[in-house]
Structures are given as C-alpha cells and as structure tokens.
Symmetry: C2
C-alpha cells in the first residue's frame, strides 16, 4: 500500500493509472475507521483495478461550535485496517485547501432540510471537499455509506450536475450487534450514553414496522421512544427528493439526528 500526503503527487499517479486504462475506485473518509468503512472499501475493491482511500477531517464541513477539534483519530490503526482491506493507495493529506482557496460547490434543494437545516454550511463544505477529492483522485467509481443518507443524495446530485464520469455507489449502513449504527463518533459515548443511543435504532425500527399509513402518527410514536437530550429531526421523507411525506404509500425513508450528551448521532432506515 502506498501512503501519499501530497495532492499533486496523488493526482499525477492517478492520471497515470487512467492513461493505462486502469479503473480507479475511491472511498473518502474522515478516518477512525470501523466496519462500516471497511464494507465500503470491500464494495469499491470489487469494482476497480486500483483502490484509493482518503483520510481527511474536512474543516469546511464543520460549523462553529461543532466537534472538529475533538473528532477522533487513529492514524496507525487506520493504516493497518486499510492495508488489510486491500487498499492500494492511502491518501492522508495534511491539508487539502490552499490559503488562496476560493471555490465553493453548493447543491440546492436536497440540502435545505434534515442535517442541512441543523448544520448550516455543512453540505457546501462537503460538496466542495468531495468535488476537490474527485478532481485529484479521478475515480471511475466512488462508494459512500447509506448511514449518511442525505450526504449520499447530495453527492449523487453534484456528480450528475457537474457531468462527472463517476459511478456513485451506495452501501448499506452497518450496525453493531446491539443495533447501534456504526460511527466514528460512537467512541465519544460513555456506557450510559451508549445505552441511550440504542433508542435511535429502536425508534426507527418501531416507525418502520408501525401499521399506520400516517407519517405524523408514526413519528409521534417513535419520538416517544427516543432517549435523547435533543432531537434535531425525526422525519419520514421521499428517499429520492428527501421531501417530507404525509402518507406512506410507496418507498419512504425515516431519518433521525439526535444528541446524546455532547455527541450528535444520525441513523436512518428504509420503510
């Protein structure tokens, strides 16, 4: 496994692979890798000749007062996991943005609700860093987890809108044996918080199997189960437009973002 820290070096290497007809797969991450990330790498590995994983905690997608400074990290552990997962190139830039950086990529509509409403600027920062990473890595395919369901929709939209020749693949959310959706942020939970965090998954399951066709009724029932300190949202939406729906008479997705102590967790489930 190559480990590369310089964007220009990586871009030149990847251009060379492309010129020789080798397909490039890409999994961008913020590190502190868990089984969820490894499942994305496995998916990507099956669809490319050369697999690139990036580890970069992108400051642009964190708002003021968010957890940028205490985002967990484990560079050595991450490198070992990537090596075992068959990653060909690990990209760990010290920084991705020049001081002179001036470009922002924004996706309207899809980013208005859900995490877009509770984290202003988050999706601009996300779309911008992913566009830049796509420029450097030049992947043929890129894999994103359904754990960040809105993020996946935003990246799909951006990729399509900017005409990029990149196949965006989703991969299912991975849960711990107790049902908690895997997240690097789970490491911030103490044992009691971890216990309360299970209520997110339990509420989603309850909503998923609830007999009522009314989204409002299901949400009310699910909300009563949440043992969170604050709920940013618990919503049932159209899985493509991410617009809230009233009646459940076709494909739907229930999404939640809630705070357990100082940790903001998200989860979602198909209905």
């Amino acid at each position: 496994m190559n480990t590369i820290r310089c964007s220009n070096t990586l871009r030149d290497m990847m251009s060379e692979h492309k010129r020789h007809g080798r397909s490039v797969g890409f999994v961008p991450t913020m590190g502190f890798l868990h089984k969820g990330h490894l499942s994305l790498m496995k998916r990507a590995k099956a669809h490319c000749d050369h697999l690139v994983v990036s580890i970069y905690v992108n400051p642009l997608q964190f708002g003021a007062g968010e957890d940028l400074d205490r985002y967990p990290s484990d560079p050595e552990g991450d490198a070992e996991k990537c090596e075992s997962a068959g990653v060909d190139t690990l990209f760990c830039p010290k920084t991705l943005f020049a001081d002179s950086h001036a470009t922002t990529v924004s996706v309207a509509g899809l980013t208005a609700g859900l995490c877009g409403a509770s984290r202003p600027g988050h999706f601009d920062g996300l779309a911008t860093v992913v566009a830049r990473l796509f420029g450097i890595v030049q992947p043929d395919i890129a894999v994103f987890g359904e754990k960040d369901f809105q993020q996946l929709a935003v990246i799909r939209r951006m990729t399509k809108d900017l005409g990029m020749a990149i196949n965006i693949m989703g991969a299912p959310l991975i849960r711990d044996t107790d049902g908690l959706a895997l997240s690097s942020r789970n490491t911030n939970l103490d044992p009691l918080e971890h216990q309360r965090a299970l209520s997110l998954h339990q509420a989603l399951q309850f909503i998923q199997t609830h007999p009522s066709p009314s989204a409002k009724e299901r949400i009310q029932a699910g909300m009563a189960l949440l043992q969170a300190d604050r709920v940013d949202y618990l919503q049932i939406v159209n899985p493509v437009s991410l617009q809230p729906i009233q009646q459940i008479d076709g494909p739907a997705r229930v999404l939640v973002a809630a705070w357990i102590g100082n940790t903001r967790l998200i989860d979602n489930m198909a209905i």
Copy 2:
C-alpha cells in the same frame, strides 16, 4: 469531424479516448465564431491528440435583462470554421442542464469586482457551466482567451481549487485591423457605433503608454477618451489578484467594460 449533441454520448467517447492514453484538448465557446476563437483552437490543437470545441449559449451566465435572447448565432458557419480548424469533435448540446439541476460552483474574491460587480451571478453561471463541461469532456488542456481576462482568472482558480487535472492555457486577445477586440457581440454594432467602439482600444493604449505612475491619473486621462454611452468600469488591477492598484510599479492590467448603444463590450491590455 464528429458533431455530438448528447452529453452522455460525448462523455463516453471522451472516457474511451482517455482510456487509450489520448490527450484531449478543449475550447468552450458560445458560438458565432471569429478569428479569436480560431486562435484558441489552434493553440489547443498543438497540445492534444483530440480537440473538442463546444458551442453552447449558457443561460446561467446571463442576468435578467441581458442579451441572452439576442446573442448572435450561426450554426452552419461555425461548423465549417471548426472543420477547417481541425476540430475533431464539435459538441453542440441543445441544453446542458437537466430540470433537476441544483448545483452551483462559486469562486469568491476574484469575482467581486469588474464584471462580477456589474453582472451579478455571471461568474457563478460561468464557473458552473465550465465545471460541468470539464466533467463531460475530461480535457487534459483547455484554452480560454485573455479577452475575457477575469473569466480566465476565475477558471484557473476554480480548476486549481477543485483539484482538476486540467492545464488551463490563456491565449492573447485578437484585434480587428482597426484595433477593435474581436467579439461575437461586435455584429450588433452599427457603423457609427463601431466607430465609437474603437475608443475602448484607444483609451487602453493611451493608459498603457501614459507616463504617470498613478493609476488614478491614467484612468482619468483614459476615461476622457471613451466615447461610450455608459462605462461599467475602467480599472487598473493586479493581473493575478484582480485587485485595484494605486501605483504602477510592477505588472498591471487595465480593463474596461462599456456600453456602445445596446451592446456591452469589454477589452483589456497589459501595462
């Protein structure tokens, strides 16, 4: 010469060229081609295996009340000129943006003054269409004229910021024998307006050769020569940052945008 109207078809063709190690050159235009455009094509042709020219009048870069509806066009003449210039693929999409298009690319700073100030939204529309065209065409090099000096700076910045493996080349502004900077919009000038339009070039030359180190003095002297109905700006700026300068003690650029009748013309010159 291939003529392609469908974005997906073009992207697949270009991906195929890239996989076979052939370099792609690109000149995006809005059509009604003149010798300025042909000089860009010549420059690009010398640096690539396969030359793509696009003709698309991008609605996103026109503001309300601007001349989108009366932008000149000559599809047959353009095709002949491209053929003669050795263009390999002519891309003439009917439209470039899906109804569901939601992505905007913005470049801050460089777009604040000059045309950015007099044409709000123009550079967002420009950066967005060029990013999309770059995604579809996947060029190794792209050539833009120095006629649109601010545009060239914005595209360079965007390309760098988004990590794109594209070499952006500038090409000198081309003038008519009487000094008028070539522009598709010149066709809108009647003979008297054409005569008055020459004052742009004359004012720039006067400013260029003026002995004073004071930008203000040179601008005042140049302004007196302009026979325009309205002047959007006449400014001396740093050629990289595009920030106005007071004292001319290094590289500088003088830029003008002015209205002759209903036609807005731009021109610029190195100092």
